[in-house]
Symmetry: C2
Subunit: 200 residues, 2 copies
């Protein structure tokens, strides 16, 4: 046990510097901070990370994180309201959940269609989505995909695939964000908001 | 084992958001990134952190991190050259080591004297430093303390305490940093560099 602790600390710094938003310098700062709190915060983080890494899996049905075969949302009968919200990844699912406006279920694609990266419909679980329509009596599929070219291409593909299934396919409204100032918005958003204007 | 994984993930996000440089949003981004790599990077970080938290202690002699009673530097007879470099904390020790110019031993204070925070000489291990002078045949104590008011107050106190011990007490030179542009330097640094000018 007389290995140089500097090696271990160096190893930990190297691992942490691979995280988004951290570089070699900020990783070193984090490690120093943790070493000063090694009995408390550091041990807690290590334990928590180990648990999450060990117990987290993907929901067989929707692709959300879960600790069982089915995630908490898919296992909750109150969320079976005939709506499925299609999102690109987990971060988007969390974003929609934070909004508290949606009470149905999700379908996490895990990416967008991309010919360049050879990502096809099967990689995104789109056949799995189509298979859910009947058994879950889905009446509406909400495409909550990013307003990027890739997101919109994927949305078009899914809308096409659902065309003959009889479900309503909707997309998020585009317009001025709450609290947004017109002066700072791009032209495309203003045009979209104008075209979709509503009687007040 | 059917606890909502969201709780565990929330807990991990909360812990990570306490790290320097990370807020709630960047912690969430890190957690998402880790969940996607839960079998590889996340498990590695958890293991590495757990080892460092478990095995790291403070060197009995100098206060450096160590896995034994004595740190690698104190245990290395080649570093017993009669010089002790006094630094404020571990980060400063690492900074001096990266410079590769110093081949003696260290003394980590763990802070600076502060009447406001009730940090006295005993809290900084200054008596322990004085006790090292004789047994380690120390001939020079280099005060590598930060050029702040607190750092310089502490340096003065240590220099006073060592006054009758017969060791040479030195401090880091002040001047223009390597690669520094005069135009961007503060007036104090330029005055210090002028006053300490050397024949070339």
């Amino acid at each position: 046990m007389s290995a140089d602790p500097a090696d271990r600390i160096e190893e930990l710094t190297g691992l942490l510097s691979r995280l988004p938003g951290l570089g070699p310098r900020s990783a070193r700062r984090v490690v120093l901070y943790l070493i000063r709190r090694r009995g408390t915060l550091m041990a807690q983080i290590a334990r928590s990370m180990e648990q999450v890494a060990r117990d987290t899996r993907e929901c067989r049905q929707c692709g959300n994180v879960s600790m069982d075969e089915l995630c908490a949302i898919c296992a909750n009968p109150a969320r079976a309201n005939g709506q499925i919200c299609v999102v690109e990844d987990l971060a988007d699912l969390w974003a929609v959940e934070r909004g508290r406006a949606f009470r149905g279920r999700y379908h996490v694609l895990g990416g967008t269609l991309s010919a360049l990266d050879a990502v096809g419909p099967e990689d995104l679980g789109i056949p799995r989505l189509l298979d859910r329509i009947g058994p879950e009596s889905v009446s509406e599929v909400i495409l909550a995909l990013n307003a990027t070219v890739e997101g919109q291409t994927t949305a078009h593909y899914i809308a096409d695939a659902l065309h003959d299934s009889g479900v309503t396919v909707t997309g998020l409204a585009q317009g001025v964000p709450i609290g947004g100032e017109l002066d700072y918005l791009d032209d495309g958003t203003i045009s979209a908001a104008l075209n979709a204007r509503k009687r007040v």
